[in-house]
């Protein structure tokens, strides 16, 4: 009985580990990894002031491109961590860029209130369709893409990019 109980517990622990791994990693899209980021980097969108900004203006940097919106609670939740990471790794070559699936006035107000320390561009609702072409199959938010210094997409994540995971990914690239 002892052996069987132990076997059951081990099996159970395995299932929990698998389920937890699936749960927290469920929204990442490994099939997108190490793809050419040319389409993304060719993107040009206005900022809240209406000035067009190209994603190619940060060559050689590690880019974290985050699709978000002011109406998206999980998006807002993870942004303080993005700001911390921008502070911590910015001088080492990390650059966060937001793409807001939102209206310019709302984004501007939010950025000021929040003290956002990285640029965010205005994509409107069309941006979510754009993100679909970059691996966001269900067109939901938040959706984050990490691009290495060579312009390759190394990670895409639907749902929050948890702090530990973000740091693990980014530290390897810097």
């Amino acid at each position: 009985m002892g052996r069987l109980l132990r076997g059951g517990l081990i099996a159970g622990a395995g299932v929990i580990a698998l389920a937890t791994g699936v749960y927290f990693g469920l929204l990442q899209t490994p099939d997108m990894e190490r793809r050419d980021g040319a389409t993304l980097l060719a993107l040009s969108l206005p900022n809240a002031a209406g000035v067009e900004q190209s994603l190619s203006q940060w060559p050689g940097k590690v880019l974290v491109v985050n699709f978000w919106a002011t109406w998206c609670a999980p998006c807002r939740e993870e942004m303080p961590e993005f700001m911390r990471a921008q502070n911590e790794y910015g001088s080492k070559g990390l650059q966060f860029v937001g793409i807001a699936v939102d209206q310019a006035d709302k984004v501007e107000q939010f950025s000021k209130e929040f003290g956002l320390n990285y640029p965010t561009l205005i994509g409107g609702y069309g941006a979510v369709e754009l993100s679909r072409t970059l691996g966001n199959k269900v067109a939901a938010l938040p959706f984050t893409i990490v691009v290495d210094r060579q312009g390759r997409i190394v990670h895409t994540q639907l749902g929050q990019l948890k702090p530990d995971k973000l740091r693990t990914i980014v530290e390897k690239l810097l």
Partner: protein, 177 residues
């Protein structure tokens, strides 16, 4: 005692007295883990928030959202309209939702499971087809939100003569017959 090996993921064998506790542990663990496993792929919004509509009579359309487990819609982000624009639609106050305390948006009302709303239409001809347009916005418990999503359903209005009588009502008699 010689115990047979049980592979993880397989249903436990019929319990023997000696294996009872282990089987129970495994079953409990599986039961706890399955909801997480079931959420491997988030649903696209049209499947998370299935929208349908039908005419109850020439003046009333029943609009229905079927909301998948683990997903919810915001009450104040549901809007209905009808095409052609010449048709007038009256939307009653939506039923109370479940109050959710959101750290960013304060108290918000959400719907889970489903929502049924009866909408009144005017200036449509019985026997016509109209298109009911529903805009909604919701999220999933796994921590993703969908942009406002528009769904359209074509609804055939019944001919006026076949309308108002409910099957459980006796036919109404006129005093003059």
């Amino acid at each position: 005692m010689d115990c047979p090996h049980t592979l993880p993921g397989l249903p436990p064998r019929p319990p023997r007295i000696s294996g009872h506790r282990a089987s129970l542990v495994l079953a409990l663990v599986l039961a706890a883990a399955l909801p997480a496993l079931a959420q491997i792929s988030p649903l696209p919004p049209e499947k998370a928030f299935r929208f349908s509509a039908r005419a109850l009579n020439p003046q009333t359309i029943e609009a229905r959202f079927q909301i998948a487990d683990g997903y919810y819609l915001y009450r104040d982000r549901i809007h209905f309209s009808v095409e052609p624009a010449a048709t007038r639609l009256t939307v009653p106050p939506l039923p109370d939702g479940k109050v959710k305390e959101d750290q960013f948006f304060g108290k918000v009302q959400t719907y889970r499971g489903g929502l049924i709303v009866n909408l009144s239409i005017k200036d449509a001809k019985a026997g016509d087809k109209v298109v009911l347009v529903a805009e909604s916005q919701g999220c999933a418990d796994v921590g993703i939100c969908y942009p406002p999503h528009v769904q359209r359903v074509s609804v055939a209005l019944p001919a006026a003569t076949s309308a108002p009588t409910r099957p459980d009502e006796p036919p109404r008699k006129s005093w003059f017959n």
